[in-house]
């Protein structure tokens, strides 16, 4: 080949590269701007501003109300809002949204969608940043929202780094039911997919600090609020737009972790919240006793969904939900001056004595005349243990008491304890129940659905320890002493007696696909729950994991099934926190064997 020809061939190859890149970006469409290979959850993770606009262009008919704001906006659950306002909310939350983004988003929503309500969430950081990130593919707004020249907008995404497209293909293959760092959004609600976060076992503070070390040594980087004026102009613009369109606007200031407020000077804080009151009335959750409780937050600037539930309950006067008294204030131009003082005169710190409670949980199995040195204990021993607990001042509470404490803040007795039995043995009916009644104690029995009323293994003729029947279960439940809950229907199989591979616990089998596992787990649990409801007459609200084995996915599935508590076999005392339902998930239990009453007290009192 002649050199001249070679040079032209080279130029041809060189020019073909951008064309190739554009073709790849157009077809794979990682940012979700061209409407190909749609995977909104992934695209929204790359750039929520753009991908959510594309999503709404297709789905706007399904919604009539919108949440607008930065990442903390995600923690106001749309389900609660839908109920309070009888609406259908979509959360447009995008990380790092400043008020300019918010203003342009609201304008686009009003122009292009049916809108009844706008909830505008304002975070304290909005005083610091304004109009940032417009030139980055991962931060810019959709051209329809920002008014950017479509040529530069789409051109930018056509020429995007091919790694994004590659990631989309690679991540699609690695996609799982629960979110991963590449697909953090829930397509339908627009909020972060917090299913994993909402089943995280939170309780003991020391364990929490271990899991979230940021709260032990909280970094503070001082910042000045140079954008109060511009931010307020945008809030005013949003207010005026909503008013003109007849849309109800709710302005909310998000709860902020106490130490984070030290980022700002008192003058800036006062100026920010006063200026906001001059523009609009708003609900302020910025600072309260909640601000000092790290368990209500999951990182430096984000509060948990449960706190969002509390905030919404306060706003909409729902007194069925626990809300700390000082949480939330309605601020108007008139009371702003007084209100701001609570922000600038911040006192106090973490004091959880009023809203946390330690609850040990005991785990029993079969009770016989003679103990076997393992999980089967003797009747005499059981009675001795109950007597010891009673004498030591423990009150054996029921599940409903725990729920009421966490959800509504209803106090628990002084030394609460929860007694549980696994598997559903006949001896629970014949021996344990009378003893419990005698000592005025409640208990929970987790039954294995397939074994109810059986004394052979799944009718194979192989004898097993006898299990009580539904009639007996109903009798116990009606007494108010015993609550019958689930130990799965048939996910506690015997490795020896069942066909291989036996499901000895409720976690995936080796090599089982996520899809197959979910189907198996859900159908098993649904059967267990419906049989108990039918046989006992009471709904199932809790389950104990066979062998104590669980995964985040199994926890999330339980929550999807409507369960309020799950139990493991981790030997630790639980700390319940008012307003944090996830502290009832993955609760620890002490396995009780043939030990004296005194030894039992030692076990639970450490």
């Amino acid at each position: 080949m002649q050199s001249k020809k070679w040079v032209f061939m080279f130029l041809g190859c060189l020019l073909s590269l951008p064309l190739l890149l554009m073709a790849v970006n157009y077809v794979v469409d990682p940012f979700g701007v061209f409407g190909h290979m749609t995977w909104y959850s992934f695209s929204e993770t790359l750039n929520p501003r753009v991908a959510k606009t594309t999503y709404l262009k297709e789905h706007w008919q399904e919604y009539d109300s919108y949440l607008v704001g930065c990442s903390s906006t995600s923690s106001y659950p749309v389900e609660a809002l839908n109920e309070y306002l009888d609406a259908s909310f979509y959360n447009t939350i995008s990380y790092g949204v400043d008020m300019k983004d918010a203003e342009e988003t609201v304008r686009w929503l009003l122009d292009n969608c049916t809108v009844r309500n706008i909830v505008l969430n304002i975070y304290v950081d909005n005083g610091v940043t304004y109009d940032t990130g417009q030139d980055q593919l991962t931060l810019k707004l959709h051209e329809e929202v920002s008014g950017e020249n479509p040529l530069t907008f789409y051109g930018g995404y056509l020429l995007a780094d091919p790694n994004y497209a590659w990631d989309k293909l690679k991540d699609k293959a690695a996609d799982t039911e629960l979110s991963q760092p590449f697909d953090v959004f829930d397509e339908e609600t627009g909020a972060y997919d917090k299913r994993a976060r909402d089943v995280e076992n939170i309780g003991d503070l020391d364990r929490y600090y271990e899991a979230y070390p940021v709260f032990t040594d909280y970094p503070v980087y001082p910042a000045r609020m140079g954008e109060i004026e511009t931010t307020m102009e945008s809030v005013a613009a949003i207010r005026d737009m909503c008013e003109a369109a007849g849309v109800d606007l709710y302005v909310v200031c998000a709860p902020v972790y106490g130490e984070y407020l030290n980022t700002f000077t008192d003058e800036d804080l006062a100026a920010f919240y006063t200026a906001l009151a001059e523009v609009t009335d708003y609900w302020d959750f910025t600072y309260s006793s909640v601000s000092w409780e790290p368990r209500y937050f999951y990182d430096s600037t984000h509060f948990r969904n449960a706190v969002g539930d509390m905030a919404l309950a306060r706003m909409f006067g729902d007194d069925s939900v626990y809300i700390p008294e000082d949480f939330g204030a309605y601020v108007t131009a008139e009371n702003a001056a007084d209100h701001v003082k609570t922000l600038t005169n911040r006192t106090g710190g973490l004091d959880d004595s009023g809203y946390t409670c330690e609850v040990p949980v005991l785990m029993y199995h079969h009770i016989a005349e003679e103990g076997d040195g393992g999980v089967t204990i003797s009747a005499a021993c059981f009675e001795e243990q109950m007597a010891a607990l009673s004498e030591a001042g423990y009150t054996a509470v029921g599940l409903e008491d725990l729920y009421a404490y966490v959800e509504e803040g209803t106090p628990l007795p002084e030394k609460p304890i929860l007694i549980t039995f696994d598997d559903g043995y006949e001896s629970n009916y014949t021996i344990a129940w009378p003893v419990l009644e005698k000592y005025d104690m409640q208990a929970v029995i987790f039954t294995i659905g397939v074994s109810v009323g059986k004394d052979t293994y799944k009718d194979t003729g192989t004898a097993i320890t006898p299990h009580f029947s539904y009639e007996e279960a109903r009798e116990m439940a009606e007494s108010g002493v015993i609550s019958i809950q689930s130990h799965t229907y048939d996910m506690h199989q015997s490795a020896q007696l069942d066909e291989s591979p036996a499901r000895t616990s409720a976690v995936p089998l080796k090599g089982e696909s996520e899809e197959d596992y979910m189907a198996a787990f859900l159908s098993d649990m649904e059967r267990s729950m419906s049989e108990i409801l039918e046989g006992v007459g009471e709904p199932v609200t809790a389950m104990a994991y066979p062998n104590g084995d669980y995964t985040t996915l199994s926890q999330a599935l339980c929550r999807e099934l409507g369960l309020k508590a799950t139990f493991t076999t981790e030997a630790r005392t639980n700390v319940l926190v008012k307003g944090l339902p996830q502290c009832l998930y993955g609760m620890g239990r002490y396995n009780v064997e043939e030990i004296s009453g005194e030894a039992l007290l030692d076990l639970i009192e450490g």
Binding site: S3, W6, V7, F10, C13
Partner: protein, 519 residues
């Protein structure tokens, strides 16, 4: 403007087109404009230093030229009589030019170090302002001083046109990192008229691609790991430190030689052949040979403007006769030369930067090479007694490995943040190697995936294979010319895709600056 930026590629494309479109007598003007545009883009205000060096060395050259021709114009007898006076004047001019330019270089590059050392030792508070280092200051200073000295020696007549001379000092492909050119070699090419040669253009493009491959795919990739380890060297085992130094050796070679390939490739595209700066240093059999293959133009500069002047100076001649008288034998003969050699490598060490570790680096190289020279007679005797094949492949391979090891140890000194750190790292490598930490996942905690390490390893296999082929006398580009059109197309498209996908994208086109630009 970094070679690896998209801006540079556009700049280059536009320049090459214009270069062959403008009337040929204006080609040099275009190059001068382009060079200053290039320098202003990256160097900004520091262009002042470039102008100072250009003007002062230009003037010195003119003065020296004038003195030379005035002397030459004198009648033979008078010439002889007045020569010493002329020589004195010429020396003054050279001295002034050197003092001014090296003084400037010293202040910019070494003053803060000197001040720190003096302050620490004496408790004084000499100010050490953080001066903005002009791009490529070491390179253009050395290049223009060589011009002044050549004018002094009467090697060629000075350039009379300031603009033409300015182009020699500022020629953009080489201003950041060399090669350090000589006026008689580069000047005529820069100022000459160039007709478009498709062959040259093709070779230039190919050489650039090879350079980009080494820089972007290999050097920048392994650099991530090197930086991660060296940003916090403590707490790693010796094997990780050794891996980081190996990584750095790869990074340095691929970055520097890749950069030079781009420089020379750009030159070829413009019809200008620049001096070779690397000749496959991996295949060097001795440290001396290594320095003749690595950064060749710096070594040559040192030879011509440091070694010879010292070795031929009166003082050294006296030292030579002293040595011959007192040491006798071979030692007496080579002692003075060895000392001059030591000085050269010591200066090369310091040339790299102001820090004790570079001084140590100078001692290390100078010491080893000088020791080698001094012990040469002993080696010769030893060799005669040991009956192995001294010209066999095994021995050559051993020599290559030995040289690489010596160079490798030296790299600890050029990369560690401090001399003491370098020494501690060398000690850890020897006393606390812990081979298992190479496989326990530590290597994956530095920002590189296993895939990245594979890319670097395979990249080095390709580089070594090509260099081996060249070492054997092969011509890769000639070899390619004989292939079919499809193969040639593939040999363009595949490397392009490799460079773009494994080198350019994913780093957001954040152009990494040349490592050597800081020296």
């Amino acid at each position: 403007m970094s070679f690896t930026s998209l801006t540079f590629l556009v700049f280059l494309g536009v320049l090459v087109v214009l270069y062959y479109l403008v009337p040929r007598k204006f080609q040099w003007v275009l190059l001068l404009l382009a060079s200053y545009a290039f320098y202003l883009w990256g160097g900004g205000k520091t262009v002042v230093y470039l102008l100072i060096t250009t003007c002062t060395t230009y003037l010195a050259g003119r003065l020296l030229g004038a003195l030379n021709s005035r002397l030459k114009a004198l009648p033979a007898e008078e010439r002889k009589a007045r020569k010493p006076a002329f020589d004195r004047k010429k020396k003054q001019v050279v001295l002034a030019a050197c003092l001014l330019n090296f003084g400037l270089l010293y202040i910019l590059k070494y003053w803060s170090f000197t001040a720190e050392v003096i302050n620490n030792a004496s408790g004084l508070h000499l100010p050490a302002p953080d001066l903005l280092m002009p791009l490529g200051v070491s390179f253009f200073t050395f290049q223009s001083i060589s011009y002044v000295i050549d004018c002094y020696r009467g090697k060629y007549a000075p350039q009379e046109n300031l603009g033409r001379y300015a182009l020699f000092v500022s020629f953009f492909p080489q201003i950041i990192q060399g090669p350090i050119a000589r006026y008689d070699q580069l000047g005529p090419q820069l100022l000459g008229e160039h007709k478009l040669s498709w062959d040259q253009l093709k070779y230039g493009i190919q050489l650039c691609m090879w350079g980009y491959f080494k820089k972007l795919v290999i050097a920048e990739r392994i650099g991530v790991m090197v930086n991660a380890v060296f940003s916090d060297v403590w707490g790693y085992s010796g094997s990780i430190m050794a891996a980081a130094v190996l990584g750095y050796s790869i990074q340095l070679y691929c970055d520097f030689s890749g950069g030079i390939d781009i420089t020379r490739g750009v030159g070829q595209m413009l019809g200008i052949e620049m001096a070779e700066n690397f000749r496959r240093p991996l295949f060097a059999l001795s440290l001396t040979e290594y320095w003749r293959r690595w950064h060749i133009t710096l070594g040559a500069w040192m030879r011509d403007y440091v070694f010879y002047p010292i070795a031929l100076s009166k003082g050294f001649r006296k030292l030579g006769s002293f040595a011959r008288k007192h040491f006798g034998g071979v030692m007496g003969k080579i002692f003075a030369t060895s000392m001059a050699t030591f000085v050269v490598y010591f200066v090369i060490g310091i040339w790299h930067g102001a820090n004790f570790r570079y001084i140590a680096y100078g001692f290390y190289n100078g010491g080893l090479i000088t020791a080698g020279l001094l012990l040469e007679p002993t080696f010769v005797k030893l060799r005669e007694r040991i009956p192995i094949r001294w010209d066999g492949k095994a021995w050559h391979f051993f020599q290559m490995a030995r040289t690489s090891l010596i160079v490798f140890v030296g790299r600890y000194m050029t990369r560690a943040p401090r001399l003491l750190t370098a020494l501690a790292m060398i000690r850890a490598t020897v006393t606390d190697f812990q081979l298992q930490s190479l496989t326990d996942g530590t290597l994956l905690s530095f920002g590189l995936t296993a895939f990245d390490y594979w890319v670097v390893a395979l990249g080095m296999v390709v580089v070594t294979a090509v260099e081996w082929y060249q070492e054997k006398g092969g011509h890769v580009r000639k070899w390619m010319e004989g292939r079919s059109a499809v193969v040639q197309w593939a040999m363009v498209m595949i490397p392009l895709l490799v460079i773009v996908l494994l080198g350019a994208v994913g780093q957001g086109y954040v152009a990494a600056e040349f490592i050597y630009a800081q020296f």
